[in-house]
Subunit: 230 residues, 2 copies
DNA sequence: ACAACAATTTGCAACATGCAACTTGCAAAA
DNA sequence: TTTTGCAAGTTGCATGTTGCAAATTGTTGT
């Protein structure tokens, strides 16, 4: 197993950096986005909460996305959730051990899915994570910026909701992501005009108080991109 | 030099992938974007035209951007041009030698700057590059998609022009990037309203035929981002 | 003075967006 | 049975944006 790496390393004449993937796992809690952190299992920074991540296993992972799925599954039990490559952080300083490359991803998971996973994750408000090892605070900042950017022209924020949701929930999650209030009538008009959703028939959600029942929707296509601001 | 890599490799217990950077260097030629390719110096695919790229040198490069600048300078003589991280391509298949990571960048260079560099680059229409080694064709596709996306809401396309340009040239480069005709009056209104440019006084460009002289502009800020479609 | 021609502006209809007021459906309270 | 509270969902309107066509302007060669 080691042989292969060494052999090619000799051929290429260049010492190789460490290569890891790190995942900014975001989920909504109380109208705010939270990041899921895990205590580090090993040095450096052992036991300190940090992004979910790990080494690329060259014998096992076909590509970076496979590594992400393997690590997500192993460390949180989650699979089948939305994730997307964010940016690669690569420098001689970011890891005290050596020159290191972190291929960073952001992942979105609905509240209920994460609750049911039943793993002890450290959830922190994504815009106030405090001190974190390595450049993990920078990575989280980049993830939020990217998600906010994409919120303006894609259905990505809907990946923070369960499969079926109401229009109000959809608007609320966009507001959470974008960090600003949106006009209700404009929001509905836009979403309807874009024709992104399909109605779900049947069991209207139970309401606590008496009020008009809500239409339930789901995304027609898992990912839609559109032009303008919501 | 080798010692450090090996020492840490032993510590981490994981064989490390190859890490390179690849640069999609784009420049306009005859109303189309072209990519600059160079014949590969070594195996695999020796002598075949490919993206400008090279290994990260862990003893020399402080970070991935430093590696990009070093490689651009060494292989084309260019420095001080705009470049931005595109995406990282990482898999066991993309390089026949080993599991490999390519941190891909795209770079924009004005026509005249590249001409004056005086390097023998193989320029090919970016949307028809033909067969290329590795996944370089995919990387170029991704670069074009990204640039087109950013064209709609940033001044990045202006980096394909010399520092001083006319409004018509600016519109033409946006059209080249976006791959669609834009309305002249709407374009000018928008650019003016956004207040991105400043007039350059003095020497109006020489025109071949008799006509109204053009106002020359330059970007106020090297990078401006705005909301909507141009 | 006129012609030719790109540069630049103007007018206007169609469309989009933000804000406020209005209507609707349900069930608990009166 | 009617009234009421409340969120769901719609409508009207003032304002801003965009695309298309036509008009104006500044130069120089005829």
């Amino acid at each position: 197993m080691r042989a292969r790496g060494l052999k090619h390393m000799a051929e290429t004449e260049f010492p190789r950096p460490i290569v890891t993937v790190d995942i900014v796992l975001l989920t909504p809690r109380e109208e705010r986005l939270h990041v899921a952190l895990l205590p580090r299992a090993a040095e450096p920074f052992a036991d300190m909460p940090a992004l979910i991540g790990g080494y690329v296993h060259v014998e096992e992972d076909a590509n970076a996305e496979s590594a992400v799925m393997r690590i997500l599954k192993a460390k949180t039990g989650l699979s089948g959730i939305f994730f997307e490559q964010l940016q690669t952080f690569a420098s001689m300083n970011r890891d005290p051990r050596d020159w290191s490359v972190s291929i960073a991803y952001f992942a979105l998971v609905p509240r209920d899915l994460l609750d049911n996973a039943g793993v002890a994750l450290d959830l922190r408000p994504a815009d106030a994570v405090g001190e974190l090892p390595f450049d993990h605070a920078d990575i989280i900042r980049a993830a939020l910026e990217r998600l906010r950017g994409k919120g303006a022209y894609s259905t990505i924020p809907a990946r923070l909701l369960p499969e079926v949701f109401t229009m109000s929930e959809l608007q609320a999650i966009y507001e959470t992501v974008m960090g600003e209030r949106l006009d209700q009538s404009a929001f509905r008009r836009k979403i309807n005009d874009l024709n992104l959703l399909e109605e779900v028939e049947g069991e209207k959600r139970q309401t606590e108080r008496a009020r008009r029942p809500t239409t339930l929707y789901r995304l027609k296509s898992p990912l839609a991109v559109f032009d303008r601001r919501i």
